[in-house]
Amino acid sequence: MTLIPTQDDHFNARVDLHHLAAMVAEGSRVLDVGCGDGTLLRLLAEKRDADARGIELSQSGVNECVAKGLSVIQGDADSDLVFYPDQSFDYVILSQTLQAMNRPRDVVEHMLRIGRYAIVSFPNFGHWRIRLQLLFSGRMPVTKNLSYSWYETPNIHFCTIDDFTSLCKEIDAKIEHAVALDRFGIPVRTDLPRSLWNFFGEQAVYVLSRERR
C-alpha cells in the first residue's frame, strides 16, 4: 500500500491511523477496539499522551501488544463491549474493523455508550473502482486493500459511506466530523457533496457522539 510519508512518520503506520490519532485530544482516555498489533495505541500514547487501551480478538496480536507494554485484553468486540461501563472513555475507536463485526450496529451503539466520542474508520464499498469491478466483471470485488476472496473473507458486513451515514441517522448518532480518504490517504475535498465522497473515497473516518439530555 502506498503511503504519503508524513513528516514525523517514524511509526510507518497506515496513514489512516495518523488521521485517527490527530482527531484525539491530548491526554484523553482511549479504547481501541480491534487494536491489532497495537500500532495506533502506541501512536496515541506517544503522540497524544493518551491513556490508551485496546481489545483484540487474535491471541497473537494481544501477546505482541502486551509484550510491547501496551494495555490490551484478548476479547471479542461483538460480545465483550458490554462489560465496559457507560462513559468510561473519552474516545472509543474502531479502525477498519466495522466490516468484520457480527453486529456492527450494536457495536457502534456500545461505542457511543462507552465513550464520549466514537471514531469509526471503514473501507468504502461505494468507491468507483469497486463499483466498476462488480459492474464489468460481475464478480465480487477484490482490491489491493480488500484482498480476500468472498469465501474466506473475515469482512462480512461491508457498507458504503452513504450506508454508514444513514446508520448514524437511524441510531440517532450525531456526526461531529467526517472525512473520506482517497487511495493515497489524502482527504477528499470536504466541499464536495457526500455522494461524491461515496464515489471517490476509498475509506472514511467518522467521529460520532450521542446528544445527551
Binding site: D51, V62, N63, K68, L70, I73, G75, Y84
Partner: protein, 397 residues
C-alpha cells in the same frame, strides 16, 4: 526460641528453624484473623533477591502457590533443587533482580518457617496441629502486609503469583489498592470452583483416612501420614496437568516391562510417575499444612467479600493489572481469568489479558514458556516506565 524435642525430619526443621530470614511478631503485635480471633506470637519467613532502592519503590512481591515456598530463586533447603520460579526471577530475567528488589514469603499456614500447624503453640507447649486457626487468603495477605511494613515498603511496585499465589495477588489489589502499583494474577480465579473444592476435599479425606495422621497429632506421636498425603498429592497432580500432556508424556506406555503383569503393580509409566510425585511430596510438606492451605483456597471468593460484585472489589483501583491464563488449564480455566478481566473493565481499571497457548495444563505457569516471559517482561517494563523507576544505584545488566 527453643522448642521441645521434635522428630528430626527435614520439614520439621524448616518449619521451626527455617534457613530463611524470619520476622517474629510478639504477643503485643497479634495478627487478627478473618475467621475471628488472632494469632500471637507469629512469624513470617521470607527470601529476598536484588537491592531495595533508596526510594523503596522497586519492590516486587512474589506470592507462592499451594505447596510452594519462599525459595523462588535459590536452591531449596529441603529438596536441594533449584527455586520454583528461578526461570522468571534473577539477573536479567523477567523479574530482573538487577533492577528490582524481589521478596517472597512463606504463606501463613504453610510449613517452611511462617507460622502454621507444624509450628510450636505456646499455649499448649506442643505443635498446633488442628488447634491452628483456619486461615484465609486475606489472612495470608495481611501477614505479608505486616512484613512489608517491617521492611519499610509502603508501595509495592508489583505483586505477582500463579494459582493460589494469584488469589493472593487479587486479594492484595482489593485489600490494599494504594499499596499495589501493578498486579499480575496468573492462572488463577477470583473464587474457587465447586470442582476445585471437590478435588481438595478428596485430598483432605485421603490425609485424614491415614491411621498415621492420628487426628492431626502425628508430630507429637512421631508418626507421619505419608500414604494419605501421597494419595492427596497424586490426585492433585493430575489436575495440574492436562489430558494432552499426560498422553504426550506417557501414553499407555509400560514401566520397565513389555506386558501387563496382571497385578496392581505400577505397570504403566503414568502410575509410576504419580507414585513418585506422591513419595517426593511427603518428604517436603506437612500434612496438616496441606489441609489448612487447601481450605484457605476453598474459602476464597473475592466477589462475596464485596457484596457479590467482583467489579466492586476493584472499584476506583489505580493498579495496572496483567492477567494471564493458559489454554489447557482446566483447574483455573481461561473463563475464570476472563471473569476477572470483565470485572476490572467494569471497574474502569487498567488491564492487560493474555491467554497463552500450551498443552501443559495448570502447571504451565511454572515452566519456561516464551509467551509467559515476553508478556511479563513487556508488562513489567512498561509499568516501570509509568512509575518513572530509574535504575539509580543499582547495576544494570
Amino acid at each position: 526460641m527453643t522448642h521441645p524435642a521434635v522428630p528430626d525430619t527435614g520439614q520439621r526443621n524448616e518449619a521451626t528453624h527455617p534457613s530463611s530470614a524470619v520476622v517474629h511478631f510478639g504477643a503485643e503485635t497479634p495478627l487478627h484473623l478473618e475467621g475471628g480471633g488472632q494469632l500471637a506470637p507469629w512469624s513470617i519467613a521470607y527470601q529476598t533477591y536484588g537491592q531495595l532502592n533508596a526510594e523503596r519503590s522497586n519492590a516486587i512481591l512474589i506470592c507462592h502457590a499451594l505447596t510452594g515456598d519462599q525459595h523462588v530463586a535459590n536452591v531449596n533447603p529441603v529438596t536441594g533443587k533449584s527455586g520454583w520460579w528461578d526461570t522468571m526471577v534473577g539477573p536479567g530475567k523477567p523479574f530482573d533482580t538487577n533492577r528490582f528488589f524481589v521478596i517472597c514469603s512463606n504463606v501463613l499456614g504453610s510449613c517452611l518457617g511462617t507460622t502454621g500447624p507444624a509450628s510450636f503453640n505456646p499455649a499448649t507447649q506442643r505443635p498446633y496441629a488442628l488447634d491452628f486457626p483456619v486461615v484465609t487468603i486475606r489472612d495470608m495477605v495481611n501477614a505479608q502486609a505486616r512484613l512489608m511494613d517491617h521492611l519499610g515498603i509502603e508501595t509495592i511496585f508489583c505483586v505477582a503469583g500463579g494459582s493460589m499465589g494469584g488469589m493472593q495477588v487479587l486479594e492484595w489489589a482489593a485489600s490494599y489498592p494504594q499499596r499495589v502499583f501493578a498486579a499480575m494474577p496468573i492462572a488463577t480465579s477470583a473464587k474457587h470452583s465447586a470442582q476445585n473444592i471437590a478435588f481438595h476435599e478428596v485430598g483432605r479425606q485421603a490425609v485424614m483416612a491415614d491411621p498415621e495422621w492420628r487426628k492431626g497429632r502425628y508430630l507429637d506421636e512421631g508418626t507421619r501420614p505419608e500414604k494419605g498425603l501421597a494419595v492427596a498429592r497424586m490426585a492433585a497432580h493430575i489436575t495440574y496437568l492436562s489430558e494432552q500432556a499426560l498422553h504426550r508424556k506417557f501414553g499407555r506406555n509400560f514401566q520397565d516391562r513389555m506386558a501387563p503383569t496382571f497385578s496392581f503393580d505400577a505397570d504403566f509409566e503414568v502410575e509410576s510417575y504419580l507414585r513418585y510425585q506422591g513419595r517426593s511430596f511427603v518428604e517436603r510438606f506437612d500434612a496438616n499444612s496441606y489441609l489448612f492451605l487447601t481450605r484457605a483456597m476453598d474459602y476464597f471468593d473475592l466477589a462475596k467479600d464485596h457484596g457479590g460484585s467482583l467489579a466492586r472489589a476493584f472499584s476506583g483501583s489505580k493498579t495496572r493489572f496483567c492477567v494471564m491464563s493458559f489454554t489447557s488449564d482446566w483447574l483455573f480455566p481461561t473463563r475464570d481469568s476472563r471473569a476477572i478481566v470483565h470485572a476490572l473493565n467494569a471497574a474502569g481499571a487498567s488491564v492487560s489479558f493474555v491467554e497463552i497457548e500450551t498443552d501443559k495444563g495448570h502447571d504451565a505457569f511454572l515452566l519456561e514458556l516464551p509467551d509467559l516471559f515476553n508478556t511479563t517482561r513487556g508488562f513489567i517494563d512498561s509499568a516501570a516506565r509509568a512509575k518513572g523507576l530509574t535504575i539509580s544505584g543499582v547495576r544494570t545488566s
